[in-house]
Assembly symmetry: C2
Homo-oligomer: 277 residues x 2
């Protein structure tokens, strides 16, 4: 039976591209929100899920971080890094000079801002709920409209591609996390993601935790904070570190963390992504 893989839909989004790259044979289950994706795995409708976690221009995907914090039954068992390639899409037969309005997800519009200012200084832009929703709308409307989205959306909605790679920054990549009911055994080139918080607000608490990692030579690849939702200024900290939770120095540092933090949770240890290009 093929693996059932949930992702942030609809079909034609970058998340679908990541899901196909991760498991080409999987049965894909599109879900309409990050929390619905998580729910699909925790209630058994899907075996695993692929969710965007960080973009090199926009930063962390907060919905995904908040979902990880609040879903104790899900673990990160892998990561993928995919380049974001935006295209300009129109209905069959339309030309660049016909376009009077361009739709896309606000992040995609932001990522193509310079291209739009240079090539379409007088064209209106408008927000859509996803790049796929913009593509679908452009197919169905009679407006002189274009959409910005991945090449996959052109295939799905039979649109013409007027321009490829229109994002301003060629280094635009998105990191996706693979979620499942367990993480992975050590491979020798791993990462570990975790979060923690403090009930007190004393100077130096966060510093104390970081000291526990620094003194053991453990590199922190990333540190992020998210609000606890209780009051302004109380945070949950999220850390990505180099290594596996079973490595001796990390095991020790995690014991130290358990003593320092009032609450902590390991999202998982998983192999670092190596780009195959």
């Amino acid at each position: 039976m093929p693996k059932r893989l949930a992702y942030l839909g609809p079909a034609g989004t970058f998340s679908e591209g990541a899901a196909i790259k991760y498991a080409p044979q999987a049965e894909l289950i599109p879900c309409l929100s990050i929390s619905a994706v998580a729910e699909a795995v925790s209630n058994g409708r899907a075996d695993e899920a692929v969710v965007p976690i960080e973009n090199s221009l926009e930063g962390s995907v907060n919905d995904t971080l908040d979902m990880l914090i609040h879903q104790p039954s899900l673990f990160i068992r892998g990561e993928l890094v995919l380049p974001v390639q935006h295209c300009l899409l129109v209905r069959d037969g339309m030309n660049i000079s016909d376009i009077e309005i361009i739709y896309s997800h606000p992040q995609a519009l932001a990522q193509c801002r310079r291209y739009l200012e240079t090539h379409f200084p007088d064209v209106v832009t408008d927000a859509a709920l996803s790049t796929a929703a913009a593509a679908k709308y452009v197919l169905e409307t009679e407006e002189p409209a274009g959409a910005i989205g991945p090449i996959r959306a052109a295939e799905l909605y039979t649109l013409d591609v007027l321009a490829h790679g229109i994002q301003d920054n060629p280094n635009n990549v998105t990191r996706f996390a693979v979620l499942a009911h367990s993480d992975q055994r050590p491979t020798g080139n791993d990462k570990t993601s975790l979060c923690f918080s403090f009930t007190d607000d004393r100077p130096g608490l966060l510093y104390g935790v970081m000291k526990g990692f620094a003194e053991r030579g453990i590199n922190l690849a990333k540190i992020e904070s998210r609000p606890t939702g209780e009051s302004l200024g109380t945070y949950i900290f999220l850390i990505d570190l180099d290594g596996h939770k079973e490595d001796a120095p990390i095991k020790e540092a995690l014991q130290h963390l358990a003593e320092q933090a009032s609450w902590f949770r390991i999202f998982g240890s998983y192999p670092r992504y190596r780009r195959i290009s």
Copy 2:
């Protein structure tokens, strides 16, 4: 001449409420994006600006952080903390049972999720570009629609308020920053906001900076990271600390920071907000 104060418009948003609270006599200049707000101050069209910087449920406002990082001529000279009170708004004469669709900004819909599930389980929700845009749309459409937004939007668009305080979390507050061409002198109860980055990626660099603050007993109220936009995994760190940049221990720690980081910038020192209720 009254102060000219730029804010994230249109009229009827929570940002307008913050601007009025900060300077009731000011001439208000609504701008359509965070970068347009910043531009209004840097090109002299406004004297100061009020921008949202952090919400207790949603976390940092990334557009504002990125704008601060990239606008070296602007400083933070104050902060305000305002409770977010959402209302359910409809056209004159409509009742709760008439509503078939509810519009608002996605953050506002998210902040009222439990209220909507309980009171409107069968009603569709749809995203608008701002709470004010939702209110304006509801006034003009013939759809059986409601909007979620601040009480100010009801006044501006002459809508009826069917319910007050419908946000799920009573602790929902937003922190706003006041931007100008300079920050403020010490008052004895101040905060300092700054950012820094490293060109290298060696273990312990961030830890080294935090050590410089911890050893001098300086409390870090907040730590955040934003992507540099150059490649995945390279970050600009943003810190809020307790105290003024002219305080001796902070001056020392900032010298230490200048030696450790490859780049840093102080957004400003400003009086801590004290709620007047």
